[in-house]
């Protein structure tokens, strides 16, 4: 079941992207404004990251429950590989967007990496995504520390889980607020599901911490 879910987590966002973008080859035409190709590729990376992130979160929340056998065993190496794939896609999403903005404006748009909440709605929503990036990078660090302490309950592991859950509202609201494809009804239903999974994960983490 997991291999199928993995394929779907990439395939569905890609199909959604293709339905909006159309023929991607058109974007290499010289008449297309600078940066547009990087922009649409950034969207693709973001959508695929969202799909795989949701899968990773779901598999982790299902771990140790009665539903796990039906879903399939999801070991730590696989968790790490998928997690690093998500991070790579998120970094690609950010890097491509900065490249697009730089090409469009003729200057290096690294200022986008600094969160700004006082200069309008759009900048604030971009900043939410930037915060999500930083949260994800810290959770990777915490995950790496937890990996070294395998088999034991540890603070890094708890931080890894909490940061993963904390990134859900940041990522979801960022993509809902300014994503062209991500405010449609099916994607809204996906967010609702993701939110429910995150709440269950939060509850399980809380219960685990009290034991």
């Amino acid at each position: 079941m997991i291999p199928t879910a993995l394929v779907l987590a990439v395939l569905l966002p890609t199909l959604l992207w293709l339905s909006v973008v159309g023929d991607p080859r058109l974007y290499v035409d010289p008449s297309v404004p600078s940066g547009q190709l990087a922009y649409v590729l950034s969207k693709l990376a973001g959508l695929c990251a969202l799909g795989l992130f949701a899968l990773q979160l779901t598999l982790m929340v299902l771990r140790g429950t009665a539903l796990e056998p039906a879903a399939g065993r999801w070991g730590k190496p696989a968790h790490r590989r998928l997690g690093l794939s998500v991070v790579a896609l998120i970094v690609a999403h950010v890097a491509l967007f900065i490249a697009a903005a730089s090409l469009r404006s003729d200057h290096l748009a690294t200022h986008l990496l600094l969160p700004r909440f006082e200069s309008g709605f759009y900048d604030a929503m971009v900043s939410l995504g930037v915060l999500a990036l930083y949260v994800v990078l810290v959770l990777v660090f915490a995950g790496a520390l937890a990996w070294r302490r395998a088999g034991r309950q540890s603070r890094p592991r708890g931080a890894h889980r909490l940061l993963a859950l904390a990134s859900v509202p940041l990522i979801a609201f960022h993509s809902y607020a300014i994503g062209s494809e991500t405010s449609t009804l099916p994607v809204m239903a996906f967010y609702a599901l993701l939110g429910a999974v995150a709440l269950v994960g939060l509850w399980r983490t809380y219960r685990g911490a009290r034991r």
């Binding site: 008449s31 469009r104 404006s105 003729d106 062209s180 494809e181």
Partner: protein, 301 residues
Amino acid sequence: MTDLHLTSDRATATEMAAIDAAIARCGIDPVIVEEGERLIRGGIHRANERRHGLLPALHALQNSSGWISHGGVNYIAERLGGLVHEIEIDAWRSEVSLASRVLEQGFRGMQLAFGRDAVTQECYLRFFDRAAKAIGENVLETTSPQALRPEPDCLDVGEPGGSPSADGAAVETLPLATTLRRVGDGENVVFVDTRERWEYDEGHIPGAINLRLRDVDEHAAERFADADLVIAYCVKDFRGYEVAKALRGLDVPAAIMTPHGMRGWIAAGLPVAGGEHLSEADGVSAVRRLARTSGAAALAR
């Protein structure tokens, strides 16, 4: 045009000899270096050398045939490995000559003022005519970059660099000044704000309607049945371009503008409606008034 003659794409033997001699005097390797090789082998230093060979080469070309010929410029560009590339790669180096800086700033200034994708070949030709004249008179270093910029009427001659390709679905990029001129001429120009509702409510181009990419369909396209021109925009026109592309697929005459998006509109000092800005009616009046007066031409300058 005074000095620039569009003749042949190939330089004459006399022109080539003069250019070669000028480049050789600069101590530049006479071997033509491919772009890829130049970049991959860390040819920044060599690129910098070649850029310094540009002005002597242009001088030599002017002196040899009396004008800056198209073929001669092609040959110089070939020999020097591409002036524009070199300036873009190497612009931060401290030893860039003042003349190169004037030329570069004039060139960039023209693209910024007119919109990079909208500058026509006529504009470039006039720009280089002026540059060549300044070189010929040996005053390029003391010339203001703005003085190299041609009059905005060059935008009306020929096709812009970002013009649509033959498939008809490509999105045209119009200069802001041209768009305003068309508003002033009484054409039905409809602005479409492609951002989210929250962004639209903060401030938008007066009279613009809010239409997001996911809402573009045949029913939405019917709203533009009477439009002579539909300008789709967002913050930097990433979403604007996508909406314009989708609308063109539905036979709506949609385009985007340069400078791009709401940022370009605001940077040009044009009125904004909604939120803490003007009322819709006041904003529309302000845009029309500006478009009817000399505002569009002033903007382009």
